[in-house]
């Protein structure tokens, strides 16, 4: 969400902190602020609002939080009292229980215009398009208070509006002319003969334009789960749906709606031409919470004065009263309606601790060691033990995709229902195909004589049950050596000679404990094939092979050097000299550079 500093100050006129400080403070109290930027002399912040804080999807809610944090007054110039109205009743019906509150009024004799520059800019900074003055004002109020509203052109919609679950329409055309297929699960605003609006997106049929003279203006809050479900079903997300699918405060509607009416009347010269319609079947009354004043200190681990806690709760708008049993430190807290996320004592504790400041909790006092019964499942010991033994034998560990494109056995394969990676929809039933793919990859990069293993889950279906097992799969380029290694690992061997081996390890005997080795080993992302070059070097005496390799390895250096082996040693009959052929693999380097390094290293230039 975008937040313009100067508009925040409309609610917090005494706010005077540097933008960087505001960014950090917002972040620390839970509204992660990615960055701020200055555009046209406006400081604009970019915030991530938590999913449980629908109230902060408007300036008002954020200002309320900041007023607590900075201990400065929250100011609003608008009265929540109903403004002057006419006697005509609006013909509105609500035929669904999915509406929490509606406030609506008819305004006539309007003169709709293009929006003034300030409003166009405001919407632009919020990445919203300016349409015309009436529509833009509804959006302005949505950004300011976090509650969407909608205007219907009565010349197109008629005076009668019905809130209902869709019962007869199959299509709906939105304001931007998108045609959506709709069914009975969709909450709609209709008139007697046509669909007018979704709960979160207006319709083309009654769109406001510059010729609009009369509107019904409404602001409504619905059951969040219905809006959320509708938005998902129609694969449509709007600024309104983002807000309406969160828990919003119906008690805030009068303030926001009056502000909207006032702005429309001021800017479009209209007149209220109906009485206010209100639908509010079940008033939102927060439940008091029993609160132990010592709890913030206990939970945070630092002393938070009770006076601070009480002051903080008051500033949040909580009503504080003593408990019936008069327990010394326990009080009853009734949270404000704008904070439907506060329902438990733990919620109150979080409020107090976040305003107290997480940074005041020391970070240098970790848990002390405590002897507790070891509940480590024994297969973890077995897996660690196998990994260590295999790496000791020279095998590299790999990890592969648990989702694969070809099932080993169609009758037992488990298929994912909604994987967007359509080429990989089956859960693997064996690790061998993954090892084969890895081998292909290694061969593509010309890796010499790879030997590697994987320990991971394999999956299959048994009747209606989903089974997963831990499996070990090994590849060695030399089947005979693999056989020897399996013997060393005390694993059963197959009679068939193969470079691949796989076994489910869940049934193997497990060590009662095992302390794995901690290793810090390098790993490389190969960007290109290894470049393999030979060098023949002559010595008059036989050389120690290890020392010879180490000597040239050091000369080449680690940046491009991959591996070196001696592939031939030849003694010349005439000179009696020894000629060594060294095969060197270079990595992440082009041919030309590899050759240059090679020639230089072995003095072949």
């Amino acid at each position: 969400m975008k937040l313009i500093y100067s508009y925040l100050q409309k609610f917090l006129p005494t706010l005077d902190v540097k933008p960087q400080q505001l960014r950090d403070d917002l972040t620390m109290i839970g509204h992660f602020t990615n960055y701020f930027e200055e555009i046209d002399n406006e400081i604009i912040f970019d915030l991530d609002i938590k999913v449980n804080r629908g109230d902060c999807l408007g300036y008002y809610g954020l200002a309320k939080d900041l007023s607590v944090f900075y201990n400065i007054p929250l100011v609003t110039s608008i009265s929540p009292e109903i403004i002057n109205q006419a006697n005509n009743n609006l013909s509105i019906k609500v035929n669904t229980e999915n509406v929490n509150r509606i406030l609506a009024v008819k305004i006539s004799q309007l003169q709709n215009l293009n929006s003034p520059i300030w409003l166009q800019n405001f919407l632009k900074y919020h990445q919203s398009k300016s349409i015309n003055l009436i529509v833009d004002l509804t959006n302005y109020i949505m950004f300011m208070y976090g509650i969407p509203s909608h205007a219907f052109d009565t010349q197109k919609s008629t005076d009668s509006l019905i809130w209902e679950m869709n019962s007869k329409y199959t299509d709906f055309i939105t304001l931007d002319k998108t045609k959506l297929g709709i069914d009975k699960k969709i909450l709609m605003i209709n008139n007697a003969s046509q669909p007018l609006s979704l709960s979160f997106w207006g319709g083309q049929e009654c769109a406001i334009d510059l010729n609009t003279k009369e509107i019904i203006l409404e602001m409504a809050i619905y059951k969040p789960s219905v809006v959320r479900q509708n938005s998902r079903q129609l694969r449509s997300t709007t600024e309104a749906s983002i807000r309406l699918e969160k828990q919003l405060d119906p008690e805030l509607i009068p303030l926001a709606f009056n502000h909207l009416c006032k702005l429309v009347l001021q800017n479009c010269q209209g007149q209220i031409s109906s009485s206010f319609f209100e639908y509010y079947p079940q008033k939102n009354i927060p439940t008091p919470i029993s609160f132990d004043l010592q709890k913030p200190s206990k939970v945070s681990g630092v002393e938070i004065p009770q006076e601070f806690s009480l002051d903080c709760l008051k500033r949040l708008g909580c009503i504080i009263s003593p408990t019936i049993d008069n327990l010394k430190s326990t009080i009853l807290i009734t949270p404000p309606t704008i904070r439907p996320d506060i329902i438990l004592e733990a919620d109150l504790v979080e409020e107090i601790v976040r305003f107290w400041g997480y940074h005041k909790i020391p970070s240098d006092q970790p848990l002390a060691y405590k002897k507790i019964k070891d509940i480590t499942p024994k297969e973890i010991f077995l897996i660690d033990n196998l990994k260590d033994k295999l790496t000791d034998l020279g095998y590299d560990e790999i990890l592969s995709w648990p989702l694969v494109n070809n099932p080993s056995d169609l009758s037992t394969v488990i298929t994912t229902q909604n994987s967007i990676n359509t080429e990989s929809i089956y859960l693997r039933q064996s690790l061998i195909p993954s090892l084969k793919r890895q081998l292909d990859q290694y061969q593509r990069y010309k890796l010499n004589q790879p030997q590697f293993f994987e320990i991971g889950k394999i999956f299959f279906k048994e009747g209606d049950n989903y089974i997963e097992k831990n499996s070990l799969a090994i590849y060695h380029h030399n089947p005979e050596q693999l056989k020897n290694d399996l013997q060393y690992l005390d694993l059963p061997q197959s009679n068939k000679e193969s470079s691949f081996f796989e076994i489910i390890i869940d049934n193997l005997s497990k060590p009662s404990e095992y302390q794995p080795k901690t290793k810090h080993q390098s790993a490389y992302e190969l960007q290109s094939q290894l470049i393999i070059l030979d060098a023949n070097i002559t010595f008059d005496t036989i050389q120690d092979s290890s020392q010879l390799i180490q000597k040239y390895t050091q000369i080449i250096g680690p940046k491009y050097f991959w591996e070196m082996v001696i592939t031939d040693i030849y003694q010349d009959e005439t000179s009696q000299n020894y000629r060594y052929t060294l095969r060197v693999s270079y990595f992440n380097v082009d041919d030309k550079t590899a050759k240059e390094i090679h020639l230089k290293t072995f003095g072949l230039i």
Partner: protein, 337 residues
């Protein structure tokens, strides 16, 4: 076999048996199989054998070659076993091959070391899980907007899915051990999200979860323990801030951010100009989560935190593409520890 070949064979078999040093090994290998060695010499004389015997001679010679090769190879294996781990085969000589743990396993073990020293057990759980353990027991009921935070891969919607977070292991842990308190457990594991695979995103990645349930556990314990973990991973000078963050399974929720190692807090493209990099999520275990596991939150409290391992591991190993970690072009130098 021709008598002469038999004689040569027994002579060399005996010589190979008596080899004791690298140098002797190399000398006899060259003597038999070198460019000017015995086998090539015998093959070059095949033209001198009468035509009617030439076929048999060739077969005998090949048999001799194979037997001597095998003898030498078996000697090689025995010799190499003493030296290294038994991997000297076709190259005449290479340094001993060293096996490597996958970088993710290395990171997990680094973290395991920290937590085992604090008395933690290790714990694991299933990867195919139910909605109950992946969401409901973590205080995310049906239709809760928090479900949008994770795009799940379903096996059988809405009941069975691939776990989306290691907090799911925590659900199983708390249920199984609710009568076995206190608990300290660390749970590394792979998790799944319905994301397109590309350079930056994968449908499977790795997380590390730590869970503590005990009496009088506080945020101070949580923040201190997390700080210890970050200092172990990133060194003693790492700067970490702890801020308020929302996760349905914890309250108060905590978001650890590490000061950007690239710009040191001034803002750069890596940290999206925030100066900080998000390092995971944490918090005090929500009383509802404890209650659902049958643990009385009036007596017991606890903390949990989880962090992704892939990005940290990639940064540590200078890996740019997340696909490299899973069956990609990740490789290890054969002799590099």
């Amino acid at each position: 076999m021709d008598d002469n070949l038999e004689k040569i064979k027994s002579e060399y078999l005996s010589n190979i048996d008596s080899l004791t040093t690298d140098e002797q090994y190399e000398q006899i290998r060259i003597e038999i199989f070198g460019r000017n060695g015995k086998i090539n010499d015998l093959f070059s004389k095949i033209k001198d054998v009468p035509p009617e015997l030439r076929k048999q001679y060739g077969a005998d010679l090949n048999q001799l070659k194979t037997e001597l090769e095998e003898k030498l190879k078996s000697k090689n294996i025995q010799k190499a076993d003493k030296l290294t781990t038994g991997k000297l085969t076709s190259p005449i000589f290479g340094l001993p091959k060293i096996g490597h743990l996958h970088p993710i396993t290395q990171t997990e073990r680094q973290l395991n070391d920290v937590f085992i020293k604090l008395g933690f057990s290790l714990y694991s759980g299933p990867e195919i899980v139910t909605d109950e353990f992946n969401f409901k027991r973590l205080n995310v009921p049906q239709d809760h907007p928090a479900r949008d935070m994770q795009d799940s891969i379903y096996i059988k919607e809405p009941e069975y899915l691939l776990r989306t977070q290691t907090s799911t292991i925590e659900s199983y842990l708390l249920k199984v051990h609710s009568n076995n308190l206190p608990i300290r457990a660390a749970c590394p594991g792979s998790v799944y999200r319905n994301e397109k695979v590309n350079r930056s995103n994968h449908f499977v990645f790795h997380q590390y979860q730590a869970v503590v349930v005990d009496k009088e556990i506080s945020m101070k314990d949580l923040i201190g323990t997390m700080d210890l973990m970050f200092k172990t991973l990133y060194g003693p000078d790492v700067v970490v801030r702890y801020r308020c963050k929302y996760y349905p399974e914890v309250e108060p929720g905590v978001g650890p951010d590490m000061q950007c190692f690239s710009c040191h807090g001034s803002g750069c493209p890596l940290c999206k100009y925030a100066g900080w990099i998000e390092m995971g999520g944490a918090g005090m275990i929500h009383p509802k989560v404890l209650e659902m596991a049958g643990i009385n939150p009036q007596i017991w409290s606890g903390f949990a935190f989880g962090m992704g391992l892939d990005r940290w591991t990639m940064a540590q190993k200078n890996i740019k593409d997340i696909r490299t970690l899973m069956g990609g072009n990740l490789a290890y130098k054969p002799n590099e520890k």
